[in-house]
Structure formats: structure tokens, C-alpha cells
């Protein structure tokens, strides 16, 4: 059995990452989308093990000490992290793993596991990102400008990413992601290991 690979997917707010990832998952149901652990309380309709692994702060801190996270961070008083165990179990089953995390988290993961593949989803233009942020209607004009500025800073920080997927249309972005997953598997010399021993 060839082990699965881990792919980090990052991208600015409004770029359409969730839509693209959901479309990818429909085509590749065998992908494992990592579920984060958090110390915050579940909201209504949030299910443990589906939306998050909800755990007590003392357990989270114990996991930090045991180095049980690929990455973690504190945000507005709560902790969020990627538990190693589910990622490793999926990879051992030969499944590819998707980590939907941002750039600082990606840096932590790659420091531990440099073989992790980093993909940044970028908008086709800033005006298009502005349009998408405005049209979803969740933010006022001031907040949209702040998100746009933050997206520009994030893109500058993403220069070490392995791949840049331009989300022009969902279909095109999914095609790029599928190509990256397949090409990364073609890299593995394990593919020809069977031929080398004969």
C-alpha cells in the first residue's frame, strides 16, 4: 500500500476555497479532510468529530505537551489545532489528506514535515476578489477593504508555497487541484519499486 500525502490548502477570505474543496471532495470522496480540535464550546448544530473535535482546555494543553498537534494557535481566547493522529491514520490507509489552514499553521506543519505539499488558492484579480467579498454581503464596505488588504499581505507571505491555483472558475480550480494531486503521486519512486525488485 502506498501511503497518502498531505496537502495544505490556504487562500484569502472570499477566494472561494470552501466551494472548491467541496467540489473536489465530491469527485474524490476518499480524501480525508482534517477536522481541527478546539477548546471553544460547540455552537448550535455543530457536531463533535464533524465540524471540530471539541476538547477541554486541559486536554488541549496536554496534547501540546505530547506534541500531538501538527500545528496549533490561539484565537480570541480559544485554541485550535490539527491533531496528528487522524492525519496519520488516513495516510496509513493510503488516503490523501487535505489541511485547510492558513499560512502560519502551514509554516508549523512544514517545519515538522517538509514533504507536505502547500497549495495557495489565489483570485484571478484583486477586483474580482473585491467583487466576491462584496457580493456575499456579510461585510460592509470598510470590512471588505480590510479583508482585501489582508489578502494582499497573505499572498506576499505565500511565496514559498509549492503551487498556486487561480480560482477563476470552480471547474478550473478543481481541475488544477486534481492535476496537482495526481502529479504529486507520479513523483513517488514507490510507484516503480515493484519493477525495481524484479
Amino acid at each position: 500500500m502506498i501511503k497518502g500525502k498531505t496537502f495544505i490548502i490556504s487562500g484569502p477570505s472570499g477566494v472561494g476555497k470552501s466551494t472548491v474543496l467541496n467540489a473536489l471532495l465530491r469527485e474524490y470522496p476518499d480524501l480525508y479532510f482534517s477536522v481541527s480540535a478546539t477548546t471553544r464550546a460547540p455552537r448550535e448544530n455543530e457536531l463533535d468529530g464533524v465540524h471540530y473535535h471539541f476538547i477541554a482546555p486541559e486536554d488541549f494543553h496536554k496534547m501540546i505537551e505530547e506534541e500531538a498537534f501538527l500545528e496549533y494557535a490561539e484565537y480570541v481566547g480559544n485554541f485550535y489545532g490539527t491533531p496528528k493522529k487522524y492525519v496519520d491514520a488516513a495516510m496509513d490507509e493510503g488516503r490523501d489528506v487535505i489541511l485547510d489552514i492558513e499560512i502560519q499553521g502551514a509554516q508549523q506543519v512544514c517545519a515538522k514535515r517538509p514533504e507536505t505539499v502547500r497549495i495557495f488558492i489565489a483570485p484571478p484579480s484583486w477586483s474580482e476578489l473585491e467583487r466576491r467579498l462584496t457580493e456575499r454581503g456579510t461585510d460592509d464596505a470598510d470590512k471588505v477593504q480590510k479583508r482585501l488588504l489582508r489578502a494582499k499581505v497573505e499572498l506576499k507571505m505565500a511565496d514559498a508555497y509549492d503551487y498556486f491555483v487561480i480560482n477563476d472558475t470552480v471547474d478550473s480550480a478543481v481541475e488544477q487541484l486534481k492535476a496537482i494531486l495526481l502529479a504529486e503521486h507520479c513523483k513517488s519512486p514507490q510507484r516503480i519499486a515493484k519493477l525495481l525488485v524484479e
Copy 2:
């Protein structure tokens, strides 16, 4: 305009490389398949600039001195080589270039241009390669065994290749090649250069 990339495609005799490359070219007619230069005389039906660039030995040697080849080799008294100029012209037009050359030639190209992407086309198994070599009927049993042995040696030399495409079916091999071409373009930070200057 984003420059094209050069892809070396190697693989043992009988693996089905020509069939796969022809199918790829039908889907991506904009690819430039590099045409080799040779000092040997054209055979009947061979066209200059299509099958080979037929050139005189003295011109070939002048081109070697001028470093006008990406790679060259002597085979049974004739010289064969990949002229730089057509490759560079195609890349400058934004076209991807396919070099159908073997491992020693690939080593020469990568010594000059380490950014060249190397793809090795492998059979799904040695018994399947033997079957394909036998069924095409051009070689007797002894010659088939020699080709098989040579293929095993080539695969061992190909461990530094970037990608391994398993030619199980033509469709699957073409899908892998298309994924590699698209993924390699997603690597280019030039894709987001426009966003970084705004």
C-alpha cells in the same frame, strides 16, 4: 506572456511512448515536439524538418562547437542532437516543449538546464512489457529478452527522474501526463506576479 516549459519524456522500447505522445499531442496541439538534427541520410518518405533536421557532418560539428545543442550523441557512425534554437523559440512563444530522448541525453540537458522536468514512462509490469514487445512482432524471442534486460537497466538509471508515469492504458498515461504539465504550470510564481505588483 509566461514562457513554456521543457519536459523530457523517456521510456523503454515497447512501453508505448509514441502512442501516448501522439494522443497527448492530439489533445494539446500547441505542444512543440522537438525535432532532432542528424547527420544520417534521409530515408524514403522522411521529410527535412518533420522527421529530422538533416544536416551535413561539418555543420553538425560546427554546431557542437557553438554549443548549439541541448544534447547530442553518436550512434552507429551518425550524429543525433537536439538543437537549442527551436526549443527556445517555442518556449518564448509560451509553448511547452516535449523532448523524446533517452536517459543519457536527459542527463546532458539537465546539466545545462536543471529546471527541465524529467518524466519516465514505465510499464505496469515486466510481464506486460514482454507481452507488448512480443505482440508487436518486430523482434524474435532473443531480441525481446535483450530489450527487456535493457529496460530493467534503464529503469534503475531513471531514479533521478521527477515523475513516473505508469502506462497501464493509453488514457490513463495521457491523464497522468496532462496532470504533470498542468501541475508544473501551477508551480510558477509568475502566475501570481500580476497580483503582487498591484
